[in-house]
Symmetry: C2
Subunit: 372 residues, 2 copies
């Protein structure tokens, strides 16, 4: 048997959710986890430090292609793998734009992709000037290391990021966009350049963390969202799944906020809501297999994140209650230790009638999982 194998660096829920489609397609999935008992432990063949080049290289030699659960693997490690002849998908060239927000803005500017106003900031005066020119606010981001609201501050004066400026590393300042809502465009591209897109979705954030996703985003400019994502996927040479997070302004214009080059929280609905899920598509794309249909399986899909409420509830405690109250809900739990605010799982529901019907099912399940 010609076994295809994929090595995933990172043992989080994204690696975990690749296990199901890998099993169905007889793709051998191996995970390089950072700790024992990770969400993807079932497929973990190594527990180690992903910043250690020798460990990662030894793991990479056991698979056909290396891909990722997260974007924290140092570029030096990625480039080392590539120099050793390992297929890294997406490549270090592409990942650089996902890891470094300044590089991302520069590249998107070159591709003429619509973005908020931005500037590279190296000193306080330049930041205060940017703030003055952009309505008295700036969203300041560290170039690297931020996620889920970390490494981001909304400021009215350079004083508020004095600590960051003192580090001597260039920062990214962005216009604080008055957006109507947030959207995300999920797209996949395989090594051969084949592209498939899902319909653009609406994402609802709470405290900087994704809380809800509605697919498709009602009344959004589907064509514009798709065109932006295609330009980025092709322009940056992305392989695998790419999520483009966008702001939609009051007049319906789209501005790119963030990029993620891997399966993404905004695409979890696709496990049930699409003929091909983002996890199956990512595996196909990085193995350079033809991509699957992204046709919706229902008119509306809704996903609610299960965010940790304390250090006790892992969301499996009230299965009896939740499954009895919402037999149509699809419950996904990641097997993580409970922690306030942590992404512990998600619930998806679909409807051919209305987004409200799907929301009602998902909310019934999510609420019941919180308490009996």
């Amino acid at each position: 048997m010609k076994t295809r194998s994929v090595g995933v660096i990172g043992g989080g829920q994204l690696a975990r959710m690749m296990i199901a489609p890998a099993t169905e397609l007889a793709i051998d999935i191996k995970v390089f986890a950072e700790a024992e008992g990770s969400p993807a432990a079932l497929a973990a063949t190594v527990v180690g430090d992903y910043t250690n080049f020798e460990s990662v290289l030894a793991f990479a030699r056991t698979v056909d292609v290396i891909t990722f659960d997260h974007e924290h693997v140092p570029l030096t490690v990625l480039r080392g793998l590539e120099a050793a002849g390992i297929s890294v998908q997406p490549s270090s060239h592409s990942l650089n734009f996902a890891q470094n927000k300044l590089e991302m803005r520069k590249a998107l500017a070159e591709l003429s992709v619509p973005c908020p106003n931005w500037a590279q900031i190296e000193e306080a005066a330049a930041l205060d000037e940017f703030i003055a020119a952009n309505g008295g606010f700036a969203v300041v981001k560290t170039a690297t290391g931020g996620y889920d609201g970390k490494g981001v501050r909304v400021v009215q004066s350079s004083e508020q990021v004095r600590d960051w400026l003192a580090l001597g590393k260039p920062l990214l300042a962005e216009q604080k966009v008055e957006f109507k809502r947030e959207l995300a465009q999920l797209i996949a591209r395989n090594l051969a350049g084949q592209i498939e897109v899902w319909p653009v979705v609406q994402t609802i954030q709470r405290d900087g963390v994704c809380a809800e996703v509605h697919s498709p985003a009602q009344g959004a400019d589907l064509q514009a969202a798709e065109a932006i994502a295609r330009t980025i996927a092709e322009g940056l040479g992305v392989t695998g799944v790419l999520a483009v997070e966008m702001f939609e302004t009051a007049d319906g214009k789209l501005l790119v906020n963030e990029l993620a080059m891997r399966p993404h929280n905004s695409g979890h609905f696709s496990i049930e809501g699409s003929v091909t899920s983002q996890f199956e598509q990512h595996l196909r794309a990085v193995l350079n297999l033809p991509l699957g249909s992204t046709q919706a399986t229902a008119k509306h899909s809704v996903m609610l994140n299960l965010l940790g409420v304390d250090d006790q509830n892992t969301f499996v405690e009230h299965y009896d209650h939740a499954m009895a109250k919402a037999p149509e809900a699809k419950i996904h739990v990641y097997g993580k230790a409970a922690r306030l605010g942590r992404k512990m799982g998600h619930v998806t529901a679909t409807s051919n009638s209305s987004v409200d019907e799907a929301l009602a099912i998902a909310r019934t399940a999510a609420n019941a999982l919180l308490q009996a």
Copy 2:
């Protein structure tokens, strides 16, 4: 975290297809496989002999409940587990009716479930009498050990089963039913007695092996099929998924052919074609969790088995070709060594337009997987 764990005896494709829903629901799945490299190897924690009571008991002590990939575990082993306080689902009491076709016929007769004419045969004269009374034919079955056409002979004279009669074990003789088509009713029942049914499906056999499944069976008596399956599930105290294979006669009457007390080939379509797949439902049922919705995700679902054509083709060799030609098809491959006639995988396709559209997609994929 209150981890729920299920132990599956048998490492075949049915155990393999439980891995995906177990992972999504954070159910710890452990498999007692009969050999290394089994289809369910990813979840195998023991490789051993399922007829060895001590091995099976030691495995059972590591999980909350024992269930099955196949029906070959000896009753003595099952009863021993139960005596040791292990939760065995379905129970040895129920499994006896799936393992022994004579016991099954006797129990169904007591439940007044419609069956073909049948008789327990211990000598040649009685069989020849049965043949004469049933149009010159009998379907003779060994009481135990048969599956996929094995242990079954269609005969016109007792001479044709002289070898079986010589073994001195009672045989089952059944009327050769002139059926219009074959149907299968899938049903699930949890420990608390909650029942959910899928719509009855049409199964198309070739050489005694299931080749195609169409869900739902067009024009079948859904109510009658459901009523039969409910009577059996409740009457025999089945837990988990039960498949009731039936003949549909020219006048639309249903007669029970075989029973399987586990996820079944006729229910593979449910992975994509139902809100809750038979594999997720089986896990819920044996853990005594509330059952999920069996609502169809599309008007028509079609499943084609990928049956081995030689000792080379494992059905992954032509993924490029098949995925390019049929991006809507869902391909499932079991990771087995190639062998003529072996169930190597299956393809599912759904359609809201017509069964023919679903069939065309699935056939395109299945044919392409056979040759580039």
